[in-house]
C-alpha cells in the first residue's frame, strides 16, 4: 500500500512539474515567457523541482517516521515549497526575496501613436515572503518535535519488544 501511494505521488509530481510545463511550452508562441524568463529556463527549473519533490515524496512515504531520512525528506519538502513560492513571486529570480523589477516593452502603446519605449514594473511581495519564512521556521520546528516524539515512541516499542510481558513468564513457568 505504501509503495502504491509513493508511486502515485511520484507520478503526480513528475506529471505536474515535468510533463505539464512541456505541454504548455508547446502552446506558447516564441521561446520566452515574458517576465518569467526563457521557456527553456523555466522548463529546466520545473524539471529539477519536479525531480526533487518526487524523490522527497517517495522518501517520505517509504521510510518510517522515526528515521532520519524521513525527517530530512519532510524538511526538504517544506523548503522546496518555500523556494517555489520565492521563484514565482520573484518572477524567476528566487533570491530577490519578493521584490523584483521587470522592464516590459510597451509595443502596443507605441503602435497606437504615443512613443513609449518600455515600462518598469516593480513587484513588492516581501511581506508574504517574510510571513512564509516564519511559517517555514514553525513547520521545521513541528517536524523536529514530531520526529522526537516518533523516536521516543519507537524506543518505547523497542523496549516492549525486548521485554515481553512479565505475566507471560509467570503463567508459562
Amino acid at each position: 500500500m505504501k509503495a502504491f501511494k509513493a508511486a502515485v505521488g511520484v507520478a503526480f509530481y513528475l506529471f505536474l512539474f515535468i510533463i505539464v510545463p512541456r505541454m504548455l511550452a508547446e502552446k506558447v508562441p516564441g521561446d520566452s515567457l515574458g517576465p518569467l524568463g526563457s521557456t527553456e529556463t523555466i522548463i529546466g527549473y520545473s524539471t529539477v523541482i519536479g525531480l526533487v519533490l518526487a524523490s522527497v515524496y517517495a522518501a517520505k512515504t517509504l521510510t518510517p517516521k522515526h528515521s532520519a531520512i524521513n525527517l530530512a525528506a519532510c524538511m526538504l519538502s517544506d523548503m522546496v515549497g518555500f523556494y517555489i513560492f520565492l521563484f514565482f513571486v520573484g518572477f524567476g529570480e528566487p533570491w530577490s526575496f519578493g521584490r523584483v523589477e521587470k522592464a516590459i516593452p510597451l509595443n502596443a502603446i507605441a503602435a497606437a501613436g504615443e512613443v513609449v519605449s518600455e515600462a518598469t514594473i516593480t513587484f513588492d511581495f516581501r511581506f508574504f515572503v517574510e510571513l512564509l519564512a516564519v511559517v517555514l521556521a514553525m513547520k521545521l520546528v513541528v517536524r523536529l518535535l514530531e520526529f522526537y516524539l516518533e523516536r521516543v515512541e519507537e524506543n518505547r516499542r523497542r523496549v516492549e519488544r525486548k521485554q515481553p510481558d512479565a505475566d507471560f513468564y509467570s503463567t508459562g513457568s
Binding site: I121, T122, V135, V141, E146
Partner: protein, 148 residues
Amino acid sequence: MKAYVKVLSALVTVTELVVYGLFALSIFTIVTSFAGTITPVGDKQAFNMEVSPSGETVFSIKVRNQGLLDTTMRFNLQLVMQGETIELGDSITLKPGEEGDMKLRVSLTKEQMLRLITQRPRLFIKIEGRTLEERVGISVKTEVGGGQ
C-alpha cells in the same frame, strides 16, 4: 506533548493557508485596481491633462478599487527639462468598490512654458498600487516622450 504538537501543527497549517489566501486577495485587489485605473470609464478617459489660460496644468487620473481590500493608489509625475525637474505627486486610499480622482496641479511660469514648447522635456509617470496597510504593492514607471 503529542497533543500539543498536533495543535501546533494544525496552527501552522491554518496560518499557511491564511497567508496564501491573503496573497491571492492582495494580488486580485491590486491587479483589479490597476485595471480600473488605466481603463477609461464610459466616454471619459482615465488619464487627463488640462491647461488653463492662466498657465495652470492639471493632470488627473481616475481610480477605482474593484478589489476586496483597501487600496492606496499613488500617482507621480516627473517632468525633466534642461536644468530643471518638476515633481508632482498625489495619493488616494480607497475602500473596496470606491472610486476617486488623483489630481496633480502645476503652475508653469512663462519661461518654463517656453522651454516646454521649445525643448523636448522628458516625462516620467509612476503609478503605484498598494494594499494590506501598504505592505504589498505593484508599481509601474514609464517614460513618455512626446511629438516624435
